[in-house]
């Protein structure tokens, strides 16, 4: 009994300390953001690593998610004779919710884990220490450019995901199942609002990108500098970044569309 309480106490202390370190980490990232903007070279390289290398998975997943939405939506709507509204269903689900969230989850798996592994490996091979010893702060040189690239890449990936998904829904709904092409596009345009839906979706994905990259970089920076430690940190990144994305999604959705009337 006492043993369990001790373990609970130690666990809480450890969690509190980690949260504190993560907060400090975020603060230093924020403070060094301007410095990394002044050196765009590093950010471009990271845009390649985070954005271009995630593009394939985003394109393929977006297409399939859109096609599934088209199929499922059609089968549900056709019972009410409302298959003309397929555009509304596909468009709103993608632009508001699935585009930002799914692409952020994929991003956490593809780019977040890679970031953690990279930073963790830099720590394990003493490269971070070496930078410190050369009187070079790793925050503006190594960490902040990756963070910045993360939340530039994320919204771009999310809109690509949504766009491809809408085309996928079109393929299945219109080309395959025979929904009228005109009503698909018209429905989209009457129901998807530029500010309320599209822009809010983009804002969401910027936040997701910041969250995923913050978690990934922190896990790499804070990991136990051994092969096993890096492996564990990579797993933690995927789990915690995904949970973070879903948590923030609820928060942001409640803020943006909260006044459901």
């Amino acid at each position: 009994m006492i043993e369990a309480l001790v373990r609970l106490g130690a666990g809480s202390l450890g969690a509190t300390a980690t949260t504190g370190r993560a907060g400090m980490f975020l603060w230093r990232l924020l403070a060094q953001l301007p410095a990394s903007v002044r050196r765009p070279g590093g950010v471009v390289r990271q845009l390649y690593n985070l954005g271009v290398l995630s593009l394939i998975i985003i394109l393929v997943s977006g297409l399939f998610v859109g096609m599934v939405l088209g199929l499922q939506g059609y089968n549900t709507l056709v019972d009410f004779g409302a298959e003309g509204s397929l555009g509304t269903l596909v468009g709103l689900s993608l632009v508001r919710e699935l585009g930002p969230v799914m692409s952020a989850l994929l991003f956490a798996g593809r780019a977040g884990s890679a970031l953690t592994a990279e930073i963790g490996l830099m720590k394990a091979t003493e490269q971070l220490s070496a930078l410190e010893m050369m009187a070079v702060d790793p925050f503006p040189r190594v960490l902040a450019p990756r963070w910045l690239a993360g939340f530039i890449a994320m919204p771009l990936l999310a809109v690509v995901f949504s766009a491809v998904g809408i085309l996928g829904g079109y393929l299945v709904g219109v080309e395959l199942l025979g929904v009228d092409a005109g009503s698909y596009w018209t429905n989209l345009r009457t129901s998807v609002d530029f500010y309320d839906d599209l822009l809010n979706g983009v804002i969401k994905s910027v936040v997701f990108g910041a969250v995923v990259c913050w978690v990934a970089l922190f896990q790499g920076y804070d990991c136990v500098p051994t092969a096993e430690g890096v492996g564990r940190a990579t797993t933690r990144t995927v789990v915690m970044a995904s949970l973070g994305v879903l948590g923030f999604d609820f928060l942001l959705t409640a803020l943006m569309y909260g006044e459901v009337g």
């Binding site: 390289r45 593009l55 004779g81 632009v95 771009l156 809109v159 766009a163 009337g261």
Partner: protein
């Protein structure tokens, strides 16, 4: 040197692709284009009950979209819903006795406002009020009336 050029090219393509997708979503998918149709003027209509009508719902005449719901407020003076309609300036000649009613597209679809022009020689101006309104059909009430009528009829 060559290597970094390739990298920059790939990033350039990626960013361009992102913006193309954004453009596609803005123009082809969202209603951004309609915001830029520019000028509109406001008509006001009071409804006893608006049902599930929401801001941004379409306003149509004879099934053609002529504007959208700009705002919905509650009017304490009349205890009714005060709905502001933003009508495209192209359609600025609605007679004074035009009536507005809240309709539903399909059985479960979105609600919208349908205008029916009357025969008055004078036209509604900006800020003008539509006097003749018909509230939304509320399913429960209809069902309730139906059951009540049936019960009292059997007596």
């Amino acid at each position: 040197m060559n290597n970094s050029r390739g990298l920059e090219l790939a990033v350039g393509i990626f960013v361009a692709l992102g913006f193309v997708a954004l453009l596609f979503l803005s123009i082809k998918v969202s209603n951004l284009a309609e915001y830029q149709e520019g000028e509109s003027y406001t008509l006001v209509a009071n409804f006893r009950n608006i049902g599930g009508l929401r801001a941004r719902a379409p306003v149509t005449v004879a099934g053609v979209r002529v504007g959208r719901i700009a705002a919905i407020d509650f009017d304490m003076a009349t205890y009714s819903a005060r709905v502001k309609l933003a009508i495209d300036s192209d359609y600025d000649k609605f007679p004074l006795d035009t009536s507005a009613s809240i309709r539903t597209s399909g059985l479960i679809g979105e609600q919208y406002v349908e205008l029916e022009p009357g025969g008055d020689p004078d036209y509604l101006a900006d800020g003008g009020e539509i006097e003749l309104t018909q509230s939304a059909l509320v399913m429960e009430r209809i069902i309730g009336q139906f059951l009540y009528g049936k019960a009292s009829g059997e007596k």
